[in-house]
């Protein structure tokens, strides 16, 4: 369905139709990119649009234009001394990052993820903020405190410089809000028609404090599965603006950085937190199947206690989707000691991204490797891994 003549698919319902109405740097942020504060501080797109309204192959060629893009756009946007040094890589002082507790016993966590979402801008977020949240969360799910991320951009020749600026501004805001700096990066440009406007890879580094041990294999019978809020929102938000499949809904992506919530959980519950997982692609069902498989345990869910927003349920009913398999970008599954489950819910609920925290299931000794759901009317079924993507049904 890609249309190479329209790189970036500039306007969906979420973007201003006329690029003239919101010019980067004039103070107002595009409605969907980030909160209005994202461009606060008078940050102005430093690449003169009149000169290069679109990305040129030379912007990735390592020469003068590359330099202009890096020094003119990326460095001021992500504004931190490590990046500004413009070395071949970032050099970080670990002792400083470890803080008062010191480095002894702590371990390094490293996670990478590539973002190829389409459309680039969707209700409640965009590829830029998603690229920050996704990797920050992956690092956090290791039990680590993320302290730096890298950003690799693969741009398509002809991609609008203005849209690139919107994406970069949104990333900048997300990184600033998360307190995780973008310390190094890379830019490449591919021929027109060989990309979808922009792809972003982010890699995150974090420190796992001494004594923290979260891993799927630690899930054991008797544990309880806690989630920080309603599921399936990201997937439905994206689906609602997919080209040719648009439908009206107020559902927004749940994309959010969860490292503070996770840190709080680990600090409060300590070793009672056994495993963490963010149920992104493949949804809750796939994440729990992975844990069940890795730990050699069974997981039981109760359909009636699954948190799903009314609008999301409605959209799933119409599309023939099972919300258990729909993607999330701001959700965290915590497998915790049964006795501390109530506390886990309370800790999550202290954070804005954990207001809907609730218990969704339990770990059991039976049916090892499988997830079983008790249906609303009291029947039972296996919740399997999904084969391929969910597709809207005929009837």
């Amino acid at each position: 369905m890609s249309d190479p003549t329209r790189p970036g698919r500039p306007t969906q319902q979420t973007a201003p139709n006329d690029p003239e109405t919101v010019r980067p740097g004039e103070g107002a942020a595009p409605a969907s990119a980030a909160p209005a504060s994202s461009l606060a501080g008078g940050l102005v797109c430093p690449i003169p649009l009149s000169e290069y309204p679109t990305v040129q192959l030379a912007h990735g060629g390592g020469g003068r234009l590359s330099q202009k893009l890096i020094e003119g756009m990326f460095v001021p946007a992500f504004d931190n001394p490590t990046l500004a040094a413009l070395g071949d890589g970032a050099v970080l002082a670990l002792e400083e990052l470890a803080g008062a507790g010191g480095l002894a016993g702590s371990r390094l966590a490293l996670s990478t993820d590539s973002f190829v979402v389409r459309p680039l801008f969707f209700p409640g977020g965009d590829i830029g903020s998603l690229a920050v949240h996704g990797t920050v969360n992956d690092v956090a799910m290791c039990g680590a405190r993320p302290f730096a991320i890298s950003a690799g951009f693969i741009l398509e020749e002809g991609f609008s410089m203005e849209e690139l600026w919107r994406v970069v501004s949104s990333m900048r805001q997300a990184a600033a809000d998360a307190g995780v700096p973008v310390v190094t990066g890379d830019t490449k440009v591919v021929d027109r028609g060989k990309g979808d406007g922009v792809y972003i890879n982010t890699t995150g580094l974090g420190l796992v404090p001494a004594g923290v041990d979260v891993a799927p294999h630690r899930a054991r019978p008797g544990d309880v599965v806690v989630i920080n809020g309603p599921i399936a929102e990201h997937g439905i938000a994206i689906m609602s603006v997919r080209e040719g499949l648009e439908f009206d809904t107020a559902v927004e992506t749940d994309s959010a950085a969860l490292h503070r919530l996770v840190a709080d959980l680990l600090e409060t519950l300590g070793p009672a937190v056994h495993a963490l997982r963010d149920p992104t692609r493949g949804g809750l069902a796939s994440a729990l199947n992975e844990i069940a498989g890795q730990a050699g345990v069974g997981v039981r869910l109760d359909e009636r206690s699954l948190p799903i927003a009314e609008q999301v349920r409605g959209a799933c009913e119409i599309l023939g989707f099972d919300p258990l398999y729909v993607a999330n970008e701001g959700k965290c599954l915590a497998i915790v000691d049964r006795e501390r489950a109530g506390e886990a819910v309370e800790v999550m609920a202290r954070h804005p991204e954990g207001r809907g925290a609730t218990v969704v299931g339990e770990v059991v000794g039976e049916h090892a490797g499988r997830v079983v759901l008790r249906s609303g009317i009291g029947g039972e079924r296996v919740v399997d891994m999904l084969s391929g993507e969910q597709l809207p049904r005929i009837c």
Binding site: M1, R304, E317, S375, G376, G379, R381, V382, G388, I394
Partner: protein, 362 residues
């Protein structure tokens, strides 16, 4: 959610299950016609709540499943043509033909697009006069009116670059085919509520009378299915037949007259092959001769010989309710949703796929 939660209420469901337990004195085999109903039965675990005397077998009402392999190959062939924009509902894209599927064609550079409505395909044709837009018109009486509407609209607009690859099938002839087979074991039907919302249920009255079996028009929520099962069993236990309507909130005896009129304007009844079953006389809808210009099969004639189905697949017995999916030697091993050997493993509404997905392996 309103109009959904009421039909998934555990206490109400339990009450109906208890009523069924009190009612049933003999073993009975019922068939739910529609794949959507099969899906609900397995997904909500109804089959495990019913007393063991009651066996639900799963009917042929999955449009993806019964679409002949030959037609899928045809779709693949047409979608590969450079001038064609091939449009389809989402779940037909993954259905494997004998050598390829529509998603693979897309990955090879074919212009294959998913739409929610056939009318979107007509809009595409209006917007791209330089291309030819084909819509894969699959389904039962439920989807036929919208597809008829698309053809009618294209006809009114005078579009010459729109056509449909039609594989429409009709429920009543398939029910008769099942009942008239010498090895039939179906004693009562849960008729497909959505089909009846369009066609009404007067068509089923002669079938019920001829074969002396009860037919209950049934909805798709768990409580609908439980209640439909109860009503059918009650008729059987009381030695009655006839057509009853469980799905009163959507279905009348006459059905949707404007939709039926439109079907009559665009389509005529034809013989149609069903995947896994074979040709059933009078069981399909074909475009009327005066609308033949909108027939993609005529516009793009087949080039190769018709393909053969894998011999191991017992789809025919499953679609006629003679066997359960896990009774097949290939189930879950050589035949999975990723690599289906036959029709019912293909679509999420197919009985084999539902059994596989929801873990009914034992």
């Amino acid at each position: 959610m309103k109009y959904v939660d009421e039909y998934r209420d555990e206490a109400a469901a339990r009450a109906v299950v208890d009523a069924i337990r009190r009612l049933v004195r003999r073993p009975w085999t019922l068939m739910e016609i529609c794949g959507g109903q099969t899906h609900t039965v397995i997904k909500s675990g109804i089959d495990r709540l019913l007393p063991e005397e009651v066996i639900l077998v799963h009917g042929p009402g999955c449009p993806v499943c019964v679409t002949p392999l030959e037609l899928i190959d045809r779709a693949v062939e047409i979608a590969r043509r450079p001038e064609v924009i091939f449009t389809s509902f989402g779940d037909m894209l993954r259905v494997p033909g004998s050598a390829s599927d529509l998603l693979a064609v897309k990955s090879e550079g074919g212009d294959v697009r998913m739409v929610y409505s056939p009318l979107d395909a007509v809009t595409l044709a209006e917007r791209h006069p330089e291309r030819h837009v084909v819509f894969f018109a699959v389904g039962f009486e439920t989807t036929a009116p919208a597809n008829a509407m698309a053809v009618w609209k294209a006809h009114q607009l005078g579009l010459e670059n729109f056509s449909i690859l039609s594989s429409h099938v009709l429920v009543p002839p398939a029910m008769e085919a099942i009942l008239s087979a010498p090895d039939n074991r179906v004693q009562g039907f849960l008729a497909a509520g959505h089909v009846c919302a369009v066609m009404g249920y007067w068509e089923y009255e002669p079938i019920s009378a001829r074969y002396r079996l009860p037919i209950t028009v049934t909805g798709f929520e768990p409580l609908d299915l439980l209640q439909g099962t109860y009503m059918t069993l009650r008729a059987l236990e009381e030695n009655r037949w006839g057509v009853e309507n469980q799905y009163k909130r959507a279905v009348t005896r006459e059905g949707n007259r404007p939709a039926q009129d439109l079907l009559g304007k665009v389509f005529e009844v034809c013989d149609r092959p069903w995947r896994g079953i074979g040709v059933i006389p009078g069981s399909g809808l074909a475009l009327k001769p005066e609308l033949a210009a909108f027939d993609a099969a005529r516009r793009f004639p087949a080039t190769g010989p018709p393909p053969e189905e894998p011999a191991e697949c017992i789809a025919g017995e499953i679609l006629r309710g003679l066997k359960k999916p896990h009774e097949c030697s290939a189930f879950g091993g050589r035949c999975t949703p990723e690599r289906p050997l036959g029709a019912p493993m293909v679509s999420s509404e197919g009985a084999c796929a539902a059994y596989h997905r929801y873990g009914r392996t034992l």
